[in-house]
Symmetry: C2
Subunit: 454 residues, 2 copies
């Protein structure tokens, strides 16, 4: 795994690494579908106008231009300026494209609409560990037409806990907060620029409480008491619903705060019961993006906290609108590439072999390729992945070939049509019937298993 | 299906359409893996230099530039001119990126390396039926180190015939030719600009034989006899190996021609036996791209010929090189989006329902959501996709909700804890135990079945 990407920030996996990634993707898909989420994909490109719709883009976006443009000019720099709203750019997440998809297809969807979406996204940021320029996200969202019961916030968190729990990764924690709780609290103590406070609180882990207090005072005109109260709130972190009492003991009263407390309590209460140990109330969680309006979530891998959040998201009540019609939603996004990179770089999981193939059918003469294909067809009809040797080399060479490719079994047919199969790991060779022989369940398909002690 | 893409050339599917696409992708993946092909993905971007490596690009390529570039200029137009070899662009196929991947990772791969690759590619061409700007390709290739036995050309054709045969599509024909055969023949009749002849022959279906003859004479200086001989060769089309006799009867003798005849005969001979009716020798097939050196393949859907080739490719002996080391390969590429678009626009296949969900667990009171989740967990543990209602509305409304979403079963639990399940299509409601009840195989998972008569 000492290879580096030939283009910085654009990781590519070797076949045996890709098997680990496929296992992660398959596991997520299975879990999402078991919970009734439909798959969709959106195009890789959006118009710049769509991406800029919510104001600033705090991600580095890749614009597109046709190399063979008739004018001989890049489309982003010719007639269409680079901030021309009709110019095309690669999407930087799956939430903004999903909101557009919902609005465009509202007449064809049944609400609440549950979807998962697993696709690549692109951000032109400086690559570093855990941050690539091209990476895969796996999102689930539920979107309502007009309204969306809060219960879906609870459900989304539980589905994600189940999905992450099925992956070959170390233990994790969903850290959950609620924007209403935070904003209500800030208003209750007299800080009305709640977005500004959230932006400062968001820097807590990076710059520490003293500097955040300084920011609140200098940039938002907070008093020392206000700054301390905001920091006290952000310091609350509980594994159960006791955060409610801790917030109340700060003596702040506000209607929105009460609403947020009630919502977060519902999430934590359900999680304590249905995903014990996986979810904590963490009142420091802010999330930079401004479209969240309630529940907000970040997720850390225990022992890998410096990797950053591996799954983030929350409630957004106004991301998608069509005239007066609103489509509130709640969703979470798993950083698949970030997870898989870590699994691979630290050998947290391994594939049982490097190819899908379970059996190599050897040739004892060059003109028996057809008969060997017949054997292979019989094995494949029972789901056994099988290759046929291309040349009738010495058996030793054919076995070596299987060994080099990581294929566990070699099939031999002698001139009298007698069949034998050899497990080249143990060397054991037995008579076998191509119509009935089958390997053990462990050998039938590639197995990907975690190596982390848990 | 009357929707049009909101961005021309960038199709997006509704959830029930995506189920058809997923079925196609899953079927291809299963077939490829059964034949021992490993999955890889390459990054979406290549350097322009890499894409231009083989000379001209006859595809429209999308270049990339960072919108937030420090210089305030698009990277493809600032310091990096749009033909700067280090500028980035989206890949337009999967063969060129695969060749680069093989060269870069040669030390980590076991040869012959068999891989499948299913990814999106982008071409900025004018969109039309069967031609999108963003579309999915599914490729299989086998690449050798130094040499690659011809047998893989035969195998690749058979695997593709099996893969296409497993899809819910109309009947199809692989039309196969061999560049050696054609080039040897042209040399044998004294036409040495074989690439030029191939380019003209490639236009046969578009402009007809008279105009091709004209082209051969005016552009390549062919005599009338030479033009007629080249056209005679291109007119040969047989379902068996009788093309060999037909070519020989043209009385041309050339070593390369003999080699090509022998290779094509091997492919057709195996196909007649192992994929009867699916493969024809068609000596008009040329393929525009210049990297093919032997077998060339195009594939038509019977009755949908005007859609263009749904699967193309062939043998390339020199696409990937590393110093003196050559990596010859053979591969075929299925146009998944072209196929799926046709399936959807002509209702050639249908999903049995529009969501993965098999069961909706109804609520008889708002505070029974936890118990309903327990039922759902039991069902999911046996692989039954299950959702829980979010609100305890009247049962009629909850049933209507399931109906609108396309969910076949609704689960009821009364106050005494008695469970019943209702098939809302038939109206039949029976007692059921959440620990053992299971739907029929047809209802357990979404089924996608073809509607075309075959």
């Amino acid at each position: 795994m000492a290879r580096t990407a030939s283009l910085s920030g654009f990781p590519e996996w070797l076949p045996e690494e890709r098997l680990v990634e496929q296992h992660v993707l398959d596991t997520l898909r299975r879990t999402f579908e078991l919970h009734g989420f439909s798959s969709i994909e959106t195009r890789a490109v959006e118009t710049v106008g769509q991406l800029l719709r919510k104001g600033e883009i705090d991600k580095e976006v890749y614009g597109l231009s046709r190399l063979q443009d008739d004018e001989g000019e890049a489309a982003t720099d010719g007639g269409k300026g680079k901030h021309d709203p009709h110019a095309l750019a690669l999407h930087f997440d799956l939430t903004v494209p999903f909101a557009r998809y919902v609005v465009e297809n509202a007449g064809y969807l049944a609400f609440p609409f549950r979807r998962y979406q697993i696709q690549k996204v692109w951000r032109g940021e400086r690559p570093q560990e855990g941050r690539a320029r091209e990476f895969t996200q796996a999102d689930i969202d539920v979107v309502g037409d007009g309204e969306l019961p809060f219960r879906y916030d609870v459900e989304i968190a539980l589905v994600i806990a189940e999905a992450l729990g099925a992956l070959p990764i170390p233990d994790f924690r969903l850290r959950i907060n609620n924007r209403k709780l935070a904003e209500g609290f800030y208003r209750g103590i007299g800080l009305d620029d709640t977005a500004g406070v959230l932006r400062s609180i968001d820097k807590l882990e990076k710059i520490g409480p003293a500097k955040v207090a300084e920011l609140l005072k200098t940039e938002l005109g907070a008093t020392d008491d206000q700054a301390q109260a905001a920091l006290k709130l952000a310091g609350i972190r509980t594994e159960d619903t006791s955060f409610v009492g801790q917030v109340r003991s700060l003596g702040v009263s506000n209607e929105l705060l009460e609403e947020g407390l009630d919502e977060l309590e519902q999430v934590i209460e359900a999680a304590v019961k249905r995903a014990p140990g996986k979810v904590i109330a963490d009142l420091s969680i802010a999330r930079g993006l401004d479209y969240y309006t309630g529940t907000v979530v970040e997720t850390v891998l225990v022992g890998h906290e410096q990797l950053g959040s591996i799954c983030s998201g929350g409630r957004y009540d106004a991301l998608a609108t069509k005239g007066n019609r609103k489509f509130p939603g709640v969703g979470l996004s798993i950083g698949v590439t970030r997870l898989v990179s870590r699994i691979l770089s630290q050998d947290l999981a391994k594939a049982s072999r490097s190819v899908p193939t379970a059996v190599l059918v050897a040739l004892n003469a060059d003109d028996t390729w057809g008969e060997a294909q017949d054997v292979a067809t019989q094995l494949r009809s029972r789901g056994i992945a099988t290759e046929v040797a291309a040349k009738a080399e010495k058996f030793g060479k054919q076995i070596k070939f299987a060994d080099r490719r990581g294929i566990p079994f070699v099939w031999f047919t002698d001139d009298e049509g007698k069949h034998q199969v050899k497990d080249i790991r143990s060397g054991v060779q037995v008579d076998a019937d191509p119509a009935t022989w089958t390997p053990s369940d462990e050998d039938l398909h590639v197995q990907v298993t975690g190596t982390s002690p848990e």
